[in-house]
Symmetry: C2
Subunit: 386 residues, 2 copies
Amino acid sequence: MPSASSNPSETRPSGSRADDPDTHRTGGLDGGSVPDGAHFSFVGSGIGGVGIDDVARLAGVSTATVSRALRGLPEVREATRARVRRAAAELNYVPSPSAASLASGRTRTIGLLTASFSRWFNRNVVEGAEERLRAAGYDVLLHAFDFSLDGSRAPIDMSAMRQRVDGVIVLGIPLSPDERRTLDELSVPMVFVGTGPPDHVRVSMNDHEGSRIAIEHLAALGHRRIGQIGAKVPYDSRWSSAAERHEGTIAALAELGLEYDESLETFGDYTQAGGRAAAAALLDAHPDMTAIFAYSDEMAFGALEELRARGIRVPEEMSVIGVDGHELSSLIRLTTVAQDARAQGDAGATLLLEMIAGAHVGRDVRFPVALVDNGSTAAVSMSSRA
Amino acid sequence: MPSASSNPSETRPSGSRADDPDTHRTGGLDGGSVPDGAHFSFVGSGIGGVGIDDVARLAGVSTATVSRALRGLPEVREATRARVRRAAAELNYVPSPSAASLASGRTRTIGLLTASFSRWFNRNVVEGAEERLRAAGYDVLLHAFDFSLDGSRAPIDMSAMRQRVDGVIVLGIPLSPDERRTLDELSVPMVFVGTGPPDHVRVSMNDHEGSRIAIEHLAALGHRRIGQIGAKVPYDSRWSSAAERHEGTIAALAELGLEYDESLETFGDYTQAGGRAAAAALLDAHPDMTAIFAYSDEMAFGALEELRARGIRVPEEMSVIGVDGHELSSLIRLTTVAQDARAQGDAGATLLLEMIAGAHVGRDVRFPVALVDNGSTAAVSMSSRA
DNA sequence: TTGTACGCGTTATCAG
DNA sequence: CTGATAACGCGTACAA
């Protein structure tokens, strides 16, 4: 018997536990005229319908004391608190979050807006943030958006979060100006992870440094014609990790005295398929290219696919480097600039909780990166493809 | 991986935010003695204070009519509905979910209990389910549990879901009897995806068929000594996909007249590292083994790592086959029994919504599987490792 | 330290 | 088709 009915008053799993005093009506103040057990209302009742006043009655205190005791407020005598706890446990009482939210204005829920889990970074950040938030007693409302980054996506209705969350984490989504505005109007603390506008708290890896490491590594191997697989930046080019990795690349090339060729830049939009297509375009247009720098491991994987399809050997004929430190980069043999995405999720959540608690936090947190050489890069060979 | 202690850097102190002096909820209705110079535009910025009675007043109707009109109930004249809609839009009104839940008993929220996203299957199911649920107007409460399947994990407190959700999806978690009981006591509709007990609605791939396909494929290539990398089943061995894949394997071997050797079975617990360790154990104990069947692609990836480390060539010296159809199985060259995890998430969510609507749904939904040959299997060679 | 009583913002009932 | 109003279950000033 699957409990398929949404009406709890008819199909209840009966006779399981004898100590469950259900059919308790909670409205003890008014109608004594209603026969016990009469279902004149099917709202709000889960299985037990055990309310705070049931606990109060059993513990011999007022509902206010129950509320204070169970929430750990300091002004309750320990003996009283223990008695209340015992009563609550005996009745299997769980406070109604809806009622608590309505009365207090707090929801103990965090909105987690994220781009698709197909991105390694996103899913790892979500895991790190979720664990931290739940450990702190917060629920996580997940909104995952699967869209192409190249502009054309349905606008996100931020007002759906109204009154639902105490804070918001935005993960890997370049918001439109309009979305940013409506999000600001929620007037709850907000943290951006991976990519985010200035004048907002943001957690991400050190994007400039990551690009510098990649470019310097390739340059040290003698590469001069380096193709880039990046991502289009839809609204505001200043912020977003893609923009910063691009800036970092240009800066690194300049530092090394290498020429920057805009035509060596393509866009894979952080997907494997996009990375492959971008690699194909680069290979077609630049026979003299000897190395590819992809802004994510997944795009680099796509590039490796295309190279294999064309019979171009890695690293002998083409060096490839990615960003992330994907757990399969070793098996696939992709050299990469690794970051700790899970720790960034944890940090973002921690910052958000501090902001909710009223603390002032720094505007920006950048995480370190490190090169992991898995053998997809090598010195420029004499046997050019050209 | 970067350093284990990935320390973030440079937390700049926040500059002064001139525009945000602790925006608190304004009473709105009673503020008669507001000093001059106060911004009267707090209504326009739409923060918090707009309630259903504000809309009712502007539209010239009662709050009850506003509620009915905005929820699309049929008993409202279209002209009235339009007027209400206009008023609501003008005031930027968003109903309070807490108040609605308290009054109606419904939360329009689904609890999504899932094992770690490190599993390909889980993250894809979550994506499919989340998209479907949000399209139906439901919010998704995410609870991700990162635990080892081999028994020792902290018990999940299901009562935290009480009064918070209208339904629950359990994904890839073998629940303890105690957890099952407390979950049942929520008395909300419930769907299991990937693995789940009998007498509950369940969506998963056809596990028996998957094993049969894998074993028949290997047997047709002449393999007789086939190692298995499965997963431990903690509580109840009858349900869970791991148990069914195991059953299917034994059945397939029997059909083919092949011997079943229990010592050829190991446990990788659905992780890459676990798969690698399991493969190592198999290789040590069975020099005559010529093929490995892993119950997931990620475990198979781990096996491939171990084989590479030992210099054993795939598929010349060892055939390997996995289950899932991971997006990197092609690049990695892993032959696999593919399933559509996203569709299963979608189906699970759809079933749950139907159950919430009061429909009776079938007990079991099984998704088809298909062999994808990516070249990690071959006929048994004469040049044995032994 | 504890109790009283009101209000949070909707929905559902019942009467028009 | 619409209006008035009583719950919904808890948090929290204020009082004791």
